[in-house]
Amino acid sequence: MKRSRTTALLLMSAAPLLFTACQKEEQVQVQEGLYTSVQACTEATADPSACRNAFAAAQQQSADAAPKYADKAACEADYKPEQCVEQRTSAGTSFIGPMMMGFFMSQMMNSGRAGLAQQPAAASPAFQDKNAGWARAAPGGSGGLNTASGIGAGKAGLAPVTNQPNRATTASRAGFGSTSARRSGGSFGG
């Protein structure tokens, strides 16, 4: 047989993929920041208790989320030597990996609705590589824990971010796509 035994679609038959940021919807505003200390967090948000809780929650996750290396040399290829220390996951596996260097905290903006402000802020650990790039655990892949031991996955389980610590990110957009704007036609492939 020269054809697929079977075919299937998981996502396509559902609602079309939301493909553009231009379709702005009213949504709950979430503000996320990257902070290098509880103090910096407090200065930015004026919410010391949320910052303390976020720091503690991030620290609790940091060993599980950290990139994991089998030895110090491998860790030092990606991170500063003083950061690479022996750690233990919540499951008890020991590994060499970088310490948490900051934490993300995302808070619902208090839009006057009392219920929202009560929700605890979401927190996660942040890691900084030796090139000063910040990263967090990638969605669905916390530090490579999806593999049997996670060891050796290194930075593969992290998602880099552009957040600058202790302040908001600025980025420009729409620097791609100008050729398509000048052309008419259905497809830009071929």
Binding site: A8, M12, G189
Partner: protein, 392 residues
Amino acid sequence: MQRVRIAERPQWRARAEEAGFRFHTIDGQAYWDETAYYAFTLRQIEQDIEDPSAELHQMAMALVEEVVGSDTLMDRLAIPAHYRDWIADSWRQRQPHLYGRLDLAYDGTGPAKLYELNYDTPTSLFEASFFQWQWLEEQRNAGRLPAHADQFNALHEALVERFGELASRLPPPLYFSAVGSSQEDIGTVEYLRDCAAQANLHGEGIAVEDIGLSEDGRFTAVDDTVIGTLFKLYPLEDLMAEEFGRALPTSGLQLLEPAWKAVLSNKGILPLLWERHRGHPNLLESHFDDGSTLRAGWVRKPLFSREGANIEMHLADGTTQRSDGPYDGPAIIQQAHPLTRFEGGYPLIGSWVIGDQACGIGIREDDSAITRDTSRFVPHAIIDEAPTQIYV
């Protein structure tokens, strides 16, 4: 190879809607056309299409190695100097590729001839891989095709398998992008995202024009997440020419298709292939254009044209034909080898390579001998004669 009329499935439009196939009709014109199909023998498929496709693919891949090591060849392909090291590095790092499509002129007789490679942004994949497959199943079940009818189309399985192989080789997070206003391209990208999800590789979608650039030169999604790998159904040469392009080499972004596809999506690959495999039965003679008047028996194509745009044909019988389009710049000339006319139009065979495996075809039929983005997609089947003799 025959073109055979067949009754349409009464419910096919509903089936298309169910599957999220929204561009089956484009600007009121049929794009998916199942009022007929092309019937091949297994021998035609295997010997004339599958094997030559695999061989042409290998020849093309061997050329990448040569081109990325040569400034002279990069020059001939008009690849901008700013991007050459980045392209060469992407090849040396063996950044993985997903797919490509070889366009073949074939009418059932003689060797298939390579028109060009679509190795950066090939489209018409969903129709070939999924909807064509479903057509065969349903027409067999309805008794309109014989029970032994088959199809050269292992595309869906090959895509899911390939995404499974790519999962550990693409820096996360993965985003799938296309021009936000192109329904056809978004359909293709949605399908690929679906195939990836079936391999447990999950990615978000983003419009090409929504991609951001951070102050420290990294590419970002709408929520400022740094994009690790960008699948882009958007010409690489356009990305390089646009405002953000110069940031590509230092951004850390990995592309799918990878940067080295700049070598293969370029029509300059055709004269380079000819120079190295002169007289190969599946190649048409081809040279870089020196700008002189097009002689009878030759076709001129810009290095970067797509969708059959800006093609100039001067046939052996003296007639000329030309298609409009936005492309100019350096060009190649290729020996004219016009498509054969069947009842209904001129079919061109798109032969798909997933990873490095030739594993399926889709046929585009046009009213003219130049296949364009509006050419109709017509399904195919492999129908060998039922055995007339029983061997014991």
